[in-house]
Amino acid sequence: MASSFKGSRLIEKILCIFFSGVLFSGMAFADQSDWFQRSNWSAFVSQTAIYSSDYNFLSQSDDSLSFDMWEAGFLASTVVKEKLTFSAQVLGRKVSEASGDDLRADYAFFSYPFYQTMTDTLGVRIGRIRSSYGLYNETRDMPHTRTGIVMPQSIYFDMTRNSFYSADGIEFFGYRDFDDQRLSAQIFFSKPVADEDEISQIAQLTPSNLEGDKSLLFKISYGSEYDGLRSSFTYYRPEYKVDVSLPVGVMTIFEDDASVYSESMVTSLEYNQFDWSITVEYLRHKFETNIPALENIPGFQAKNTGYEEAFYIQGLYRFSEQWESYIRYDSSEGHKNETLKDNEKWHDINFGGSFRPSESWLLRAEFHYVDGLARLFGRDNAFSEKQDPYWTAAMFQVAYKW
């Protein structure tokens, strides 16, 4: 279990127990009143085997077959009363030896549509809510809703999955349906969930205390999910407060008012036909650390800003109801004038296939040829000065859902 954010973990455990109680008592009393109607539960589990050359990729897979990576989710939902609904999911997963087995309350929120007609809906959600970043963040952990075993790492980084996945706050949403096309918009004000392991790694800091400060997510989208074009634009900016100590010459400076933020703008396009789909998503990513104590120290600057541009293009073909295959080019580059370092780029050509023998079972295999190290976990790999940027990975997955 990761050692970080113990306070948050306690809140999650309390949430889990409380909401599980609500849901199960709800299911028990559902027939006797108009409270807790249409209660449902779903679950899934997956196990992945990974073999990679040269580096550990989402597991201890360097030149060996690793079975480290697993995911399991349990979710429940109920109509509390009339239009008020409640949904919650607990997710267990392991994608890194350093982070270990992770169990967390992914989301737990109430949703209420306060205005609803045949074509229009306006509503509000309150609680721990999934960040609807890009086309696929909301359902990234469910194997049956993904295209491949791993999400395109350029846009949906597994390095910061916990910090970007959900947040505690309030979201206003609205949509209008034009036949089977939907125009929707949402704005989400929240306090980010902070994972010290993840943020310290991307910000290259060693924080003694990390806390989510505030975040804003805005998204607008239009189209149909399975016929024709759909498009969306997402703006997401989570901010964190952090305490750091830094060696400056012979001294160590301690700063308890440092901050980190990440600003992402994702433009997404997808075209779906009966037996094929093409998806393109483009990310403009800015991140900044601010350590005010360094402002007046010669040779140092308080603010350090980085930029990254990333995109992926993916084609999917459905041979039949059971068989499909995909091919994807996934690219990310740090935005700098000088030559890119290996750990600032990620060019991944990957392809794979899936077989669904029944509604519940899913089998997948895929292959990655990668140039770059930007999305490898530093905590799982000991990088040297002269590392080889070219490496490969083969992955196999079996998943089951209830």
Binding site: S42, S111, T117, S132, E138, T139, H144, D177, E225, K401
Partner: protein
Amino acid sequence: MTKLKRIFLITVFVLGSQLSMTSFAATLKVIANASVEESELKLKDLRSIYTMKKSIWSNGDRISVFVLSGDNATHKDFCRSLLKVFPRQLESVWYRLVYSGTGEKPVSVSSEEEMVKRVSNTPGAIGYIRSESLHEETKVISIK
């Protein structure tokens, strides 16, 4: 086999398979509870209902959506012939709603008999069958 004969056989096969698919699809019926005011729906509206986007009827009643299991032949035919989608694609749309906590999937029933029974007992319900056995509390919805 001569070229002419081969072309004839291929034509017969293609026409035959098209005819059999047409007659197979033609027996599919979209049914609704008698409380539903609509007697016809556009195909786009039916798709919106089965992707769980459209959730209320014109009279304000909630739409209760019923489906047969994913491996049922009638369900496969309904998806492919009428909605023009693979059943797995439709499932993916439902699971995106369910696993994001923002919506529900349809109620799954195990047989056409149960489908007729549940639709007839549930105000605002919609479903589909291939059999002729309608209940008096259900009606057929024509698709434009």
